[in-house]
């Protein structure tokens, strides 16, 4: 079976939602839409307080080479463009607050169109203006990944349906419920890249999805591939290694080895953007965890407060320990359920109190972190260097190759907060480099 080296296999915990069809969350009364929901420069606001908007109206235009457009996710009135802390980073930035008028009137530009005659440039521009970003979690602007420079020829397009994070089932449900639409999106991307070799990669814990995707893709010549269920199978570099046995060079990008990786949800968003000129203003996300009464897969508008999702799922069933935006391995814990759903929110996971306390112990050098690291790093050694303040040395030991997947900290019997230390050291190093 296709796989990579290292990794871990946490309890999958997907049973709560994997068989539940996606439900549509009722419209929120008010949405909070940060203008920085993607990797790259924040979009710049094109509306002001009091402006009327419709669902899908552009509210922030891409500002920079790597940036993404932002759109209103409900129709109504702009209540404010406020300077608010970002839900994930805490860094302050412009956030558009829209009060819904309850009608959900779509923007006039959204209508079905024939995109078959579009040139590649037109497709890329359409994606840039529709605000499509990678929906797997990192939220990298999709148009940028689909327009690689000429000196980097692409021969393989990998469609990521691994969903290797425990608990999450949003991609799984999409593959079951909208396989044809996903394949249409994949076809757009493969045409754009001029790529014949298209693989749809799915972990073997989703045999039903492998089946639906293979039959949906059969006529287009795309192949569904079964991968071993192992975290982080869906991490870009690991996925490429597993599927085509190529290693993205240290510090490099997938395009350096002729690959582009896109998530299945992204494929769907690409299709909607091209076929209906519908920008990315909603997504499917999994609301789950031991402290949620009725876990569900939900189609939600970007900017909806997480609190609304929780209420729709029957509220909390236990005292909340952590509220996590994303999965348990790489998701970001937030302090309040007032934060909004973002384009990259693949899940909302609620853990109870008991699951949040880990007693830390001194390292006993068991070596499990090294065995688990899919990047071939020595987390234990990096951690020692960082704890002694030797950041430069940590950099020389390839700290920057760390993908923060969390395998080392997961495997660690001493419960050392390895990823915490690595994130800290990376940001310190970045600050030092900026100063120089």
């Amino acid at each position: 079976m296709l796989t990579f080296r290292g990794g871990v296999h946490p309890r999958e915990s997907k049973e709560a939602t994997e068989h539940k069809p996606v439900e549509v969350l009722p419209l929120p009364a008010r949405v909070f839409i940060p203008l920085s929901q993607h990797t790259g420069a924040p979009s710049s606001p094109v509306i002001k307080k009091g402006d009327p908007v419709k669902t899908g109206t552009l509210i922030g235009e891409p500002a920079g080479r790597i940036s993404a457009a932002t759109h209103a996710s409900v129709s109504g009135t702009v209540a404010d463009v406020a300077d608010l802390p970002h839900p994930l980073t805490g860094r302050r930035g412009p956030t558009v607050i829209v009060d819904s008028d309850g009608t959900d009137t779509p923007d006039g530009a959204i209508k079905e169109r024939d995109y078959s005659r579009f040139t590649n440039e037109q497709i890329v521009e359409a994606l840039r203006l529709s605000g499509v970003v990678g929906l797997g979690g990192a939220a990298f602007p999709t148009y940028f990944k689909l327009a690689p420079p000429k000196e980097k020829p692409i021969d393989t397009l990998l469609i990521n349906g691994c969903e290797c994070e425990p608990f999450l089932t949003a991609d799984h449900r999409l593959m079951l419920e909208q396989p044809a639409e996903i394949v249409e999106g994949v076809a757009i991307m493969s045409r754009l890249l001029g790529v014949k070799n298209v693989l749809i990669a799915i972990e073997d814990n989703k045999p039903d999805a492998v089946k639906t995707m293979s039959s949906a893709a059969a006529s287009s010549g795309f192949k569904a591939r079964k991968l071993k269920t192992r975290y982080p199978q869906g991490a870009e570099k690991q996925l490429i290694k597993a599927c085509v046995r190529r290693e993205v060079p240290s510090g490099g990008l997938p395009m350096d080895v002729g690959c582009v990786v896109q998530n299945v949800g992204t494929a769907l968003a690409v299709r909607d953007a091209l076929r209906f000129n519908r920008p990315l203003y909603e997504r499917v996300t999994t609301v789950t965890g031991p402290a949620v009464k009725e876990p569900k897969n939900l189609r939600v508008r970007v900017g909806t407060p997480v609190k609304n999702l929780i209420e729709f799922c029957g509220g909390y069933s236990a005292e909340v320990g952590k509220l996590i935006m994303g999965g348990p391995m790489m998701g970001i814990a937030v302090s309040t359920d007032e934060v909004p759903v973002l384009k990259g929110t693949s899940g909302v996971l609620v853990l109870d109190r008991a699951a949040t306390v880990f007693k830390e112990h001194d390292c006993i050098r068991c070596g499990r972190c090294i065995e688990a690291c899919p990047m071939g790093l020595a987390p234990q050694c990096l951690n020692n260097l960082i704890r002694r303040g030797k950041l430069e040395q940590a950099r020389a030991e390839h700290l920057k190759d760390c993908i923060e997947c969390g395998c080392c900290a997961y495997a660690c019997p001493a419960k050392i907060r390895l990823v915490h230390h690595f994130k800290y050291a990376k940001s310190e190093l970045a600050a030092m480099e900026r100063k120089q």
């Binding site: 080296r5 060079p249 490099g252 609304n308 112990h361 050098r365 019997p413």
Partner: protein, 370 residues
């Protein structure tokens, strides 16, 4: 307060204000959670493995051999083991208290040290000796260097070496004949260890005569069966290969122990027993006599003092095998297992440095430079 600090404090206050503004501008709902949730870096789930769990599993794996030592050498061995364990736990905890560290008497590590030290003692040692030895192991070898995870040699083995040089007579002569197998021939009185017998034999054998042959003629060479079940003279817990292997296989099965270390260690012993000049004994004799099994499965696998990468651990095992055989065949001691592990413990930082894992996506040139 400097300008910088002032600005920081201001920013903090502002953030707090804006958070409250953020929440008050959200439509109120039924759930009024007043307390904030825990914020910490990912990952938010952890494996079930904990340090204490691992340590206690090792303790469990060592228990069959304890049963064997009581069976073969009598109830006194239980007393010796108990003294070792209690002394190790107490001195460990007291040292932690003295050094202002958190006391962790129940983490299981001191229990392992006590058990392993006891298993390395001749059954006839006076009762005070294990008490002193175990205290040395935990206080000097472990806590002086920072406690669990920081010692650079195996505490039990270092304590054994310390006892060997401090009380050489007691440590090498107080053997007890195992139950049901009164040794005959060359050394019937004290029931010397098989390896000591071989050494003695090679000293008295006429030139050109195989010492093993001499032993065989004197009906003194232990049978494979006796070596395997433990029915021979030796240290408390080292004699029964079978009982040690039961525990070891358990640890390998639950992946607490990396099988590659004992495989490399014992494999090297077998190969060297076959090829080195001067080794008249069959390989199985070297594998099942002395401390090879105890050392290879329980001491050369001590996480703290062996290399951290798989490759490094294989090198470590091979090194242990080589040193063991060199000492046994050409050295001054009949037994070389414990010293081989101690010596390789010291080489561990070097092995670690030379056996870094291969970086994913390492460029060929960078690989050469590393």
């Amino acid at each position: 307060m400097s300008e910088n600090e002032k600005a920081k404090a201001e920013a903090k206050v502002k953030t707090q204000i804006s958070i409250s503004a953020h929440s008050s501008s959200t439509p109120t709902s039924a759930s009024t959670s007043t307390s904030l949730f825990v914020v910490a870096a990912s990952p938010h789930v952890r494996s079930r493995a904990t340090v204490n769990r691992i340590m206690w599993l090792v303790v469990i794996a060592l228990l069959p051999a304890l049963g064997g030592s009581v069976y073969f050498f009598g109830l006194k061995s239980l007393l010796l083991v108990a003294l070792c364990v209690v002394s190790a736990m107490l001195s460990d905890a007291l040292a932690q208290k003295a050094f202002g560290r958190k006391m962790t008497p129940l983490d299981g590590s001191a229990v392992i040290t006590g058990l392993l030290l006891a298993y390395n003692l001749p059954p006839g040692v006076p009762l005070w000796m294990p008490v002193v030895g175990a205290a040395f192991a935990t206080v000097v070898v472990k806590q002086f260097f920072g406690g669990l995870g920081h010692n650079f040699v195996n505490p039990a083995l270092a304590a054994r070496a310390f006892m060997m040089v401090s009380w050489p007579t007691q440590m090498t002569s107080l053997w007890v004949a195992p139950r049901g197998n009164p040794l005959s021939g060359l050394d019937a009185v004290t029931g010397a260890t098989p390896l000591a017998l071989v050494r003695r034999a090679s000293e008295v054998a006429p030139a050109g005569m195989d010492p093993a042959e001499l032993l065989r003629q004197a009906n003194s060479l232990p049978l494979l069966k006796d070596l395997f079940f433990g029915n021979v003279g030796g240290c408390l817990g080292e004699t029964s290969a079978m009982l040690l292997l039961i525990g070891a296989l358990f640890l390998i099965a639950i992946r607490v122990v990396d099988w590659r270390i004992p495989a490399a260690f014992i494999g090297t012993v077998i190969v060297l027993a076959l090829v080195l000049p001067g080794s008249q004994l069959r390989p199985w004799f070297h594998v099942f006599s002395g401390g090879t099994i105890l050392g290879a499965f329980f001491m050369a696998t001590d996480y703290v003092t062996v290399p951290i990468t798989t490759r490094g651990r294989v090198i470590f095992g091979i090194g242990c095998g080589i040193i063991t055989m060199l000492i046994r065949l050409y050295g001054g001691y009949p037994e070389g297992c414990s010293y081989s592990i101690l010596l390789m413990n010291v080489a561990t930082p070097l092995i670690d440095r030379l056996t870094r894992p291969r970086l994913f996506g390492a460029l060929p040139r960078a690989r050469k430079a590393a």
